[in-house]
Symmetry: C2
Subunit: 150 residues, 2 copies
DNA sequence: GTGTCAATATTGACGTGTCAATGAGATGGG
DNA sequence: CCCATCTCATTGACACGTCAATATTGACAC
């Protein structure tokens, strides 16, 4: 893989950054209308899918691929707003269990439908079946390449 | 466009978010080794390409598609580190001209080569010519779709 | 048990991004 | 000229992310 990138390759890279940035912006703005951020949404989704709406803090971090400290800060903010609660862990005195509150579950229900509609509107409705498959393939390739060269 | 998204479409969406996030992470970490953030790099690049290494603040904001206030905050931090300078604008007393300092130009030179190499390594080297064209097409489609439905 | 090392979660400092409000200067109708 | 209004850039408050400590507890050899 000697040599340098072509202008074309670089422009596709910049386009990827810009476009995904815009998509994020639109969707976080949309989520905001339901009173949750995209970080909140990610946490709420994970907890909603968990047994008893409850997860060890480290499991949650691993599940959404966040650094521990990032999660800790975010949970602090969510706890202040009453979306989650932190219980002590029975089996490991170091640990904490993050629990979805009723208020959190309600917020997730309220945000979910419009959010999925927005993803469909700005993303899914734009692409053909062939484009989906091509994109899936590209993303898989990129992911494999990253893992291989790390 | 009635109905809802398929699971597949949603999974491709999540994959897009996750993968581009990882790419960003790797590349900002790499840039950090040269002592600049990706925001810094974007600003330095724009100024490097500008006539006399100098731009009106609003032109710069438009050029890199940032909100004014975001740019203002970022310029404040870059100015503290001596990467840029802010001059009063001769033709409009409200305005400011952002000027690349020698130190800023030097930082950009230092960061540029390794950064481009990193983009090539994690992105360009991973994809085939067909994949590049497919991705280019997909991004263009998404962009057009966003503009059309805004 | 004790000492050592790893893991769990949090915290503080600081850089970053968004939104709303602000002040200073341009601009144009009357 | 005067006033309303727009634009330029900045600011403050706050949410968010990363990194480097920190405190506490678990695990395990001895």
């Amino acid at each position: 893989m000697a040599g340098r990138m072509t202008e074309y390759e670089l422009s596709v890279w910049r386009s990827l950054l810009d476009t995904t940035d815009d998509l994020r912006r639109v969707l976080t703005a949309q989520l905001q209308e339901s009173g949750v951020s995209s970080g909140d949404y990610r946490v709420l989704l994970a907890l909603s899918e968990a047994r008893e709406h409850r997860l060890r803090s480290s499991e949650l971090a691993a599940g959404i691929d966040w650094e521990r400290s990032r999660l800790s800060h975010h949970l602090g903010r969510m706890e202040r707003r009453g979306l989650i609660r932190r219980d002590d862990c029975a089996t490991d005195n170091r640990g904490a269990e993050v629990v979805l509150t009723d208020e959190g579950a309600e917020a997730f229900r309220r945000a979910g439908r419009p959010h999925l509609r927005a993803i469909k509107r700005v993303f899914a409705d734009a692409l053909s079946a062939q484009q989906f498959e091509a994109l899936d393939d590209i993303l898989t390739t990129l992911r494999k390449h990253m893992e291989a060269t790390t």
